[in-house]
């Protein structure tokens, strides 16, 4: 397993979470302890072991491709922090 040098600022940027400098320092210290613990998994022999993403092997679950009941527009917009003319308002994306 790789080094525990966790670049908190970079990873937080990937996760789209701004952090204060104090949070960066606290999280780095706390998560390095967690990662050290987690690295004990290096001791486990996993050769020839299949990875598992789910408890049960369910593959594809199909239904017929027909319209089903869904939320109406008003209900879907009801929790939006900003909306206008029946649409979600987003922050400007292009300059």
């Amino acid at each position: 397993m790789s080094s525990t040098k966790l670049e908190v600022e970079y990873v937080a940027e990937l996760a789209r979470i701004k952090l204060t400098p104090e949070e960066v320092n606290t999280f780095r210290a706390q998560l390095e302890i967690v990662l050290q613990h987690v690295e004990r998994l290096n001791q486990v022999d996993v050769s020839n072991v299949e990875p598992m993403a789910h408890s049960f092997p369910i593959y594809n679950v199909f239904r017929s491709d027909e319209p089903q009941e869904s939320l109406d527009r008003q209900a879907a917009l009801a929790n939006a922090p900003r909306q206008a003319q029946g649409l979600f308002l987003v922050t400007k994306v292009v300059e």
């Binding site: 397993m1 790789s2 966790l6 908190v8 990873v11 937080a12 940027e13 990937l14 996760a15 789209r16 979470i17 701004k18 952090l19 949070e23 606290t26 999280f27 706390q30 998560l31 302890i33 967690v34 990662l35 613990h37 987690v38 690295e39 004990r40 998994l41 290096n42 001791q43 486990v44 996993v46 072991v49 299949e50 990875p51 598992m52 993403a53 789910h54 408890s55 049960f56 369910i58 679950v61 239904r63 939320l71 209900a75 879907a76 009801a78 929790n79 939006a80 922090p81 900003r82 979600f88 987003v90 922050t91 400007k92 994306v93």
Partner: protein, 489 residues
């Protein structure tokens, strides 16, 4: 006697025989909450008018007719708040019912109130709620466990007849143990997750927290089963749990995993659980020592897989379609970063960062893929054990309730609170916690939980074993003296 001290099946009996009305039941519950909840903070909110309106028209002839069931704040109930105890969802109103809620409503139950929890179910003490912690009803200087701490505290303090929680790594069973009630985590896929706000989708399950085993079985009768809205729900037939509890444990093979009776286990927990399993032996069960060799790696595996899935699931909180949005942002990336900075609490940020890290380019194989392989080995441990035994018995939590603030700044010690519960989530099997004694600590009695784990889809056997134990002991009848009203019995 206060009717709020009754179990769900007892109150249903009174409702059906018209000795109480649904309105009286809801009113009594609200009065109990007014008395007790200022001390505990198990509820984030409840809408008494709405509950009374539903009580006025409910059919008491239905199997759960008129029974208020309290709901952890991450299960959608149409028209009710669903904040996941997070600032980022403060004010969010669920636009539809979760499948478990539609099922309970169809049986006549009244979804009641929003129960406190660790934010997005991330935590083991309910201290990570953005709206303040819940206190343990047995000692209000201690945590109720978590993340379903509000559910467990409310049931234990008679301010809920029964509750729904969710369990991703022990979040039903561990608080049930610490508060002295019953908590069942069903087999993965047994209960629909539709309408449950996702934390770690391959581990999450909804389940009941109740005053006794009969009530846990009763709720399972209605929440379990295939749902077309959850493609991971299982098409297996659902037995009528509540009608088949009285089987006894004669000849039942109970495995005791040696890896769970280790140094670091609280001596009073160790003693209570050993006495409990000997008691089951006295009732006719056969005890066998077994080994689950990868137990020591379960915690590490969990704290890779669960944060990885959480980092993906929580990407949806972007301040656009619902929830909190930070004001005054400069551009889209700044909008995301600030909304999530201000909206998420510390533990959620930590886990999203950890999860993003273990999935990021260059680290994926070393962490996430390796953890998925160890998960296979953990599942295999259980499969092999269940070739020799019918159920597995062990402590639910390594310690009784810990103090508020004791572990909050030390994530690893908090994570260790789930050491005995999270392997079941990774294997996908079912498990239950039930009261089996008390530890004496600082002049207070603190409940201890016995955990019984079962084969996948074999909730019936663990319920039967738990029922046999419960029916010949009195632990489940003990109630904390909080709020000056002590239950009879």
């Amino acid at each position: 006697m206060e009717i709020t001290s009754l179990t769900a099946h007892e109150i249903l009996h009174l409702l059906r025989s018209k000795q109480v009305s649904p309105t009286e039941v809801v009113t009594a519950l609200a009065r109990r909450i007014e008395t007790v909840d200022p001390l505990l903070h198990a509820y984030l909110s409840y809408d008494l008018d709405r509950a009374l309106a539903e009580a006025a028209s409910v059919d008491v002839g239905l199997p759960l007719g008129g029974l208020p069931i309290s709901i952890k704040d991450l299960i959608s109930v149409k028209g009710h708040p669903c904040s996941c105890a997070s600032k980022i969802l403060e004010g969010y109103i669920a636009p539809y019912d979760a499948t478990v809620i539609s099922n309970l409503r169809a049986a006549g139950a009244i979804p009641f109130g929003r129960l406190n929890m660790d934010e997005f179910a991330m935590g083991s003490s309910t201290e990570n709620s953005a709206f303040g912690p819940t206190k343990n009803p047995w000692d209000t200087t201690r945590t109720p466990g978590g993340s379903s701490g509000g559910s467990a505290a409310a049931v234990a303090a008679d301010e809920a007849f029964a509750a729904l929680g969710s369990d991703t790594g022990g979040s039903i069973r561990q608080p049930a143990a610490l508060c002295g009630c019953v908590g069942l985590k069903p087999t993965y896929g047994r209960v629909s997750r539709f309408g449950l706000v996702a934390f770690a989708s391959s581990l999450d399950q909804i389940g009941p927290l109740t005053k006794d085993i009969q009530d846990a079985a009763l709720l399972m009768d209605f929440i379990a089963g295939l749902d077309k809205n959850d493609s991971t729900s299982l098409p297996e037939p659902v037995p009528k749990f509540s009608a088949n509890l009285d089987k006894g444990v004669k000849g039942l093979k109970i495995g005791l995993p040696k890896e769970y009776f280790i140094e670091g286990l609280d001596p009073e927990v160790d003693r209570a659980v050993r006495i409990a399993v000997e008691y089951l032996e006295g009732l006719g069960a056969e005890l066998l020592e077994i080994s689950l060799p990868h137990t020591e790696h379960a915690l590490s595996t969990y704290y890779i897989i669960a944060p990885a899935e959480a980092s993906a699931n929580l990407a949806r909180f972007d301040g656009v379609r619902y929830g909190f949005r930070a004001a005054g942002s400069e551009g889209l990336i700044d909008h995301y970063g600030r909304t999530r900075e201000e909206g998420f609490g510390a533990e959620v940020k930590r886990r999203v960062i950890l999860g993003t890290y273990v999935l990021s380019s260059g680290y994926y194989d070393a962490y996430y893929l390796r953890a998925q392989k160890v998960r296979t080995l953990i599942r295999k441990d259980f499969a092999e054990a269940f070739e020799k035994v019918d159920v597995i018995a062990c402590p639910t939590s390594p310690t009784p309730a810990f103090r508020l603030g004791e572990r909050i700044n030390d994530p690893l010690s908090m994570y260790l609170a789930d050491a005995f519960t999270l392997a079941a989530n990774m294997a996908g099997i079912c498990g239950i916690s039930l009261p089996c004694g008390f530890a004496e600590l600082g002049g207070n009695r603190l409940p201890i939980g016995l955990q019984i784990l079962g084969r996948e889809l074999d909730e019936l056997t663990i319920l039967q074993a738990a029922y046999a134990y419960e029916q010949s002991t009195d632990w489940h009848k003990a109630r904390p003296g909080v709020g000056g009203l002590v239950a009879s019995g």
